[in-house]
Each structure stands twice: as C-alpha cells, then as structure tokens.
C-alpha cells in the first residue's frame, strides 16, 4: 500500500503491518494497556517508516483497538464505574502535569528507570519473589 505524507510517498507492507497489529491488539486488549510501546517499534523497525509518520498514525491505529476493547470489556461486565471515576481524573491531571516535567528530565534517565521498574513488576507477576 502506498501512503502519501507531507509530499513524500511511502510503500507500506500491509501484510506485516496487519499481522503485527492484530497480535498487538489481541495482547493489549487482553491485558488492558494501550500498545503504543509495541506499535511504534513495529512500524519503525519492521515497516521501516520514519518516526514523524509513525507518531500520529500509530496512535490512530491503537485508538481503534482500544475503543473496541473498551466496548467488549464493558459488554462482559469487566468495567467498574466507581473504580474508573477514581482513576480517570487523576489520569487527566497527569496528562497536564506530565509535559511540564518532561522538559526538565532526560528521556534517557526516564527510560532506564522505567526499564528497572518494568523488570521488578514483571518478576513480581511471574512470582519470582
């Protein structure tokens, strides 16, 4: 598939994109996360697309899957309104505060901290400790 973006044309391998997107969607909807950190590498590394094309478009693709997965979770009665209302305003607030702090911290440090945090959480879930 050919994609036009700001005067440049890109050839996208939709077979790889769709299979990868499908798998990411299954996992992300199953475990209830967005899927961005997997989607961006898929599009940049596997599809060889430039970052400036990927940032917006991957968000749109993920939005599709999150919408459907929200509906399905709601249908199965997995959605708890009060719990949601406790988290949602905080998430909005975080969305405002976050970018202001972002200017002052190095992304490298954040990523390394995130990396350690994820390993700790993963080992906790796997029951290692």
């Amino acid at each position: 598939m050919k994609v036009d973006f700001w005067g440049q044309e890109f050839e996208v391998n939709m077979v790889v994109g769709c299979i990868g997107g499908f798998l990411i969607a299954v996992l992300s909807s199953m475990f209830g996360f967005g899927g961005g950190p997997f989607m961006v590498p898929l599009m940049t590394v596997a599809l060889r697309l430039p970052m400036y094309l990927v940032v917006g478009s991957s968000l749109l693709a993920i939005f599709f899957s999150t919408t459907v997965s929200t509906m399905r979770h709601y249908q199965f009665g997995n959605f708890d309104l009060i719990f949601f209302l406790a988290m949602f305003p905080a998430a909005l607030l975080g969305g405002y505060i976050g970018p202001q702090i972002a200017k002052r911290v190095s992304p490298l440090v954040v990523k390394r901290v995130a990396c350690c945090g994820l390993v700790v959480l993963a080992l906790n879930l796997l029951g290692v400790y």
Partner: protein, 415 residues
C-alpha cells in the same frame, strides 16, 4: 437469547425450592437467633450468638453457641447483599474420555464474600492442602475437612455453561448456551467457580472454631478490610440438615472507601487516584500510555481486585489520553489516516478477541503472560537507551520536529 434466559430463572427457582427448603426456613427474618429447634430426628440444631451486629470495614466477630456434643461445628459466612460474577473455562483433559471439554462456566450470583470456618483441629489439613500450591481443589478440601455439609449458598447460584469451540473463541463468542444443569452438577461446578473467584485457600476456609467436649463452641470470625459492605449472615452447621438460624451482622464502610460492585470488593479510592496520577505522569515522560505500569501495579498492590476488572477499567482510562493525542495531531494534519485506519482495522479484530481471552484465563495465567510481556517491553526500553539507537533517534527526532513545525505553520496559515 431472551427466551432462553426467561426460562432459566424458573428452573433455578424450582431447584432452590427443592434443594434449599431448610435453608430458606432457617433464613427467615424476624426470628431471634439462639433458640434451638429440633430439625432432624433426635439431633438438636445448634444455637448461635454473635457479640456485635456491626463492624466498620472489617473487624472481629465473636461467635458462640451450643451444638450437640461430640460433633464438629462449621460456620458458613456469606455476604447477603452483594453478588459478583465468576467465570471458569474448563479445558482440562477429561479423565474418562481423554478429550478437552472446552466448556465455559459463568455465574453472576456468587456471593461477594463466602467463607467456611472449620474447627481449629483441622488446621493441619488446611496446611496440607496449601502445599499443593495453585492446583488445590476446593471440593476435595471441603470433603477432606468434612465441611461439604456446610456448603449451601453458592450451590444455589445460577450457573450458565456454554460449549465453546475454537471458531467461537476466534469470533469472540462464548459459544452455545447449554441446557441448565441439575442440582448436583450445579453444586459441583459452583465449587469450581468459588475457587475461580476467591483464588486462595485462606479466602474460603479458616480454622477458627473452638469446640468443647460438651458441644459448646466459640469462634473469632475475622472479617478483613476491603470487603463488600452490607449484611452478612452466619450459620452454624453440624450436619446437612442440622443448622442454626442465621445470625446477621452488617459491615459498614464510609467514604473515601467505596464498594466496587463489579469487582466485589471495597477500596479506599484515594489509592487508585494517587497511583493513577503518578503513573500517568510517568507515562507521559517515557512516552508510553500508563496502562503498562498501571495494570501490573494494581495487580501487585491490590490482590483483591479481579484481573478482568483491572484490565477492563484501565482500558477506557487509556482511551481518553489517546483520543486527545489524536485530536492534537489531527489539528495540524500530522496523521496519515490511510495508514492508521489500515492497520487499525486489523487491530479491531484483535481487540474483539482479547477481552474474551481475559475472561477465560485464570489470574495465574494472566500474571504469567503479563510478566513476560513486561520483560519484552523492558528489553525494548533498554534497546532504546543504547548509543546506536540514541544517535539514530536524535536524527529522527529532529526531522520529526521540522515536519511538525511545518505542519503547525500550515495549519496556522489556513486559519
């Protein structure tokens, strides 16, 4: 579908009438607990007295009473006002036929709290069952403790079961609704659902009843915090048909602790608020939605929350931040709609199946798979901090900035 469900309540109530007559009479309101009555033959029904009728988000209730001498006394405690869903997907190989049944069991009438208190001498048996690890069987444990005679409330739940097929799972349906099960089968399956819902042995049985040789008994019933509010009932049981009347107490909770009706637990809402705030800020900093960290954190910090609720409630939270992101990018025309919706359509299918799978797997499978996903993600993050990637990323980011600037200017020019 409507028609089928219309018949089921009748079948169910018929079942209750046949099976639960004695329980129904025992639970008659108005009668003061304490007066013993002759129920079956010569055996006198136990009496029950509780020291208080109200606790505040958990507490200890002292139960005492008189039972026939020489008989073990079991206390069946359950939440009356709140019920939750419990699911179980049976894919274990059947011993007789050697085939996997792939039957999905589901009920929405599981008490939000259900626990059997057994005589203190039985503690070693509970410990032995705990050694089996995650494969413990609730029905075998009850039988071993002799507590199966006290198992009555979840057995009355309406359990629906569906024959799943691989194809049905792919399109995300539960499969075909099978005809209602008989009383015995419902009892058996409800026990499996009790385990699926409450997970650990400590949540469903405890050795706390102190029975004296003359038949008098005392017990400290510990109700932990974070449980469903409202009325609870306690019944002392010495035999299948020999039970005391139900003693009732109320578990009160007050704001900011609130009851999460779908999760079946109550929770101080300040915790998820603070957690969500911290995680979303961090999510912005590392350039990923907060869902990755939020989910495992919630699971690790609040084991009372079912994983289905965690996944199902965090997802819509993520949705809004994505929506605002898309809005911002679309204002400056920085989204390729063709590419986004192309891959988005494939993702639609995937997202249709995912939530179904959440429901089918157990908490342990969920944790196992999520653990590995997080490890992969950590590896991805680590890779993004390597010098090679950083150099490339720097170039990419500067191109990104330039294009974005151009887009912003174009958008402004049009206004």
């Amino acid at each position: 579908m409507k028609k089928k469900t219309g018949v089921l309540p009748w079948l169910f109530s018929a079942m209750v009438v046949i099976f639960g007559v004695h329980v129904a009479t025992a639970a008659e309101p108005g009668a003061t607990a304490g007066a013993g009555q002759v129920v079956a033959g010569t055996m006198t029904a136990p009496t029950i007295i509780i020291d208080k009728t109200e606790i505040n988000n958990g507490g200890v209730i002292k139960v005492s009473g008189q039972a026939p001498a020489g008989k073990p006394v079991f206390l069946e405690v359950w939440a009356v006002e709140h019920m939750v869903r419990a699911n179980r997907f049976d894919s274990d190989i059947d011993k007789d036929s050697g085939k996997r049944p792939y039957i999905f069991y589901s009920t929405s009438e599981m008490p939000a709290y259900y626990k059997t208190f057994v005589p203190k001498e039985l503690q070693p048996k509970i410990d032995a069952a705990k050694k089996e690890g995650k494969k413990w069987s609730y029905s075998a444990l009850l039988k071993d403790l002799g507590a199966d005679i006290a198992y009555s409330i979840p057995a009355k739940a309406k359990v629906e079961h569906y024959q799943s097929t691989l194809m049905a799972s792919v399109i995300g349906s539960r499969g075909d609704l099978l005809p209602a099960m008989d009383e015995k089968e419902t009892r058996k399956r409800s026990m499996q659902l009790v385990k699926a819902r409450f997970q650990s042995i400590d949540k469903v049985v405890a050795a706390a009843v102190d029975v004296k040789p003359d038949g008098s008994y005392t017990a400290d019933i510990k109700i932990s915090d974070g449980l469903a509010p409202g009325k609870y009932k306690i019944v002392a049981v010495v035999d299948k048909k020999v039970k005391s009347e139900a003693a009732t107490f109320e578990n009160k909770i007050s704001f900011p602790t609130m009851y999460l009706s779908n999760a079946g637990t109550s929770m101080n809402l300040i915790y998820p608020f603070v957690l969500s705030l911290a995680v979303s800020i961090f999510g912005v900093l590392m350039g990923a939605g907060g869902g990755f960290i939020m989910n495992p954190l919630l699971l690790a910090l609040f084991p009372v929350l079912p994983h289905t609720i965690v996944a199902g409630t965090v997802t819509p939270t993520v949705l809004f931040s994505q929506g605002s992101g898309i809005f911002n990018y679309s204002k400056i025309k920085f989204i390729s709609w063709k590419l986004g919706s192309g891959i988005g359509c494939a993702m639609l299918l995937g997202a249709f199946i995912g939530p179904k799978l959440t429901e089918m797997i157990t908490l342990d499978q969920f944790k196992f798979a999520f653990g590995w996903i997080l490890l992969i993600l950590a590896a991805l993050m680590l890779w993004q901090t390597t010098p090679g990637y950083m150099a490339k990323n720097k170039k990419e980011q500067s191109i990104l900035k330039e294009f974005k600037k151009r887009a912003e200017e174009t958008a402004k020019g049009k206004n």
